[in-house]
Amino acid sequence: MTDLHSLILEPFHHEQGAKFAPFAGYRMPIQYPLGVKGEHLHTRDAVGLFDVSHMGQLLIQGPGSTEALERLVPAALQEMTPGQIRYSQLTLDTGGILDDLMLTRWDTDIWGLVVNGACKHADMAHFKAHLPGAVSMTYIDDHALIAIQGPQARLTLSRIIPEAQNLLFMRSLKTTWKGRDITLSCCGYTGEDGYEVSIANDHARDFADALTDLNETTWVGLGARNSLRLETGLCLYGNDLTQDTTPIEADLLWSIQKRRRTEGGFLGAETILKQISDGAPRKRVGLTPADGRTPLRDHTTLKNAAGDVVGEITSGGFGPTHNGPVSMGYVTQKLSTLGTELIAEVRGKALACTVCDPIFVQQRYRRAL
């Protein structure tokens, strides 16, 4: 455990009673005294606070950076307005996914990126290999990233950052909190309304204290972060997205805007555009056990009635808000129709399960005031 990195707020999380576990090379708070279920439900009912400073914050800028980034992601970037955020994937030549990420346009040729903690060093190597000399990449490793998520997040955060009140989903702005520069982005990984705030390490402790003092807030660990994203059908890189899955197989076509679907011009476009027109060999779906009770967990094998392997659960567990098992996985295209009955192999036993929508709990983003 000695080679693990510490979050700048590790002492703070200790004071909050967190239990820690290694994740993405960091010692991360996995749960607090409230427990995974309590933290999950509190976030759906009120506001949860998450330290996600392990994630990679990057700044990419310079003449031609927009076009250069469009070579690496299938999202349409040229049309974005300053302060707009888009979700996309770093694709590979094969059409597989190196990572998924958020891109914020700050100016014509200035981009803020947030990538997964476990992938950030590979991502940076990928950018270095592919970005032209005039485009620079800065790793912002001196800033913490704190997420404030839940139906009360807007009201709660507005008390200390008034600009939060009117910021809509997938919009970002730069402002100050008590005179300190922050980046406030309306996005998250819980399916709820909420924000991510980037703040310099030197001020992270003060900010964490201020958030803790607000009514209705509780700290939430990685355990509940996982069940919250899983219930609302959001993919986890490493489980649901890998170098062997394409954005089309992952049912992420919505994140590839029309121009890119016809023009291509990104790594893996040949495979991805062909899958858009002809269909992908397999598809990400939701799965629910017929008994309504047995959680179908990661790596559970899926079979058809004849006993042939037709897929696998990539993320699965129990959803406290759904109050039942929630799982997603991949099945062959033919079997991806909602309502298809399959067999899950759980501890050597065959358990009937059904293909369903992977969104078990509706997302509640604030797209309009």
Binding site: Q31, V36, G223, R293, T294, R297, G317, P320
Partner: protein
Amino acid sequence: MTVKYTREHEWIRIEGDTATVGITFYAQEQLGDVVFVELPDADTSADQGSEVAVVESVKAASDIYAPVTGTIIESNEELSDRPELVNEDPENDGWFFKMQLSDPTELDDLLDEADYQAFIQEEL
């Protein structure tokens, strides 16, 4: 009536040649919120140390082992509808199954309460 413990954090309450089995307070605390328990069918025989039940919390699935050799005679059906009993009352209403013992001498290898408390102190 005697209560014994295993290093896998099960308790065994022995009455004559019948043993009632559950998981300890410490075990449920480590597991977190229990959401599902898969119980063995009655009349199945189980060797000491074999997997007979599964307890699932929001975090993970954990196997429950038969603490002694014998035959399952009853499972706690109430856990199907109320798995949270494992957290609320692990050492009474949250019991898992009852066994008919085949070899009572196996009990000698299990921990008594003082030994078990010392064992979890080491784990902490």
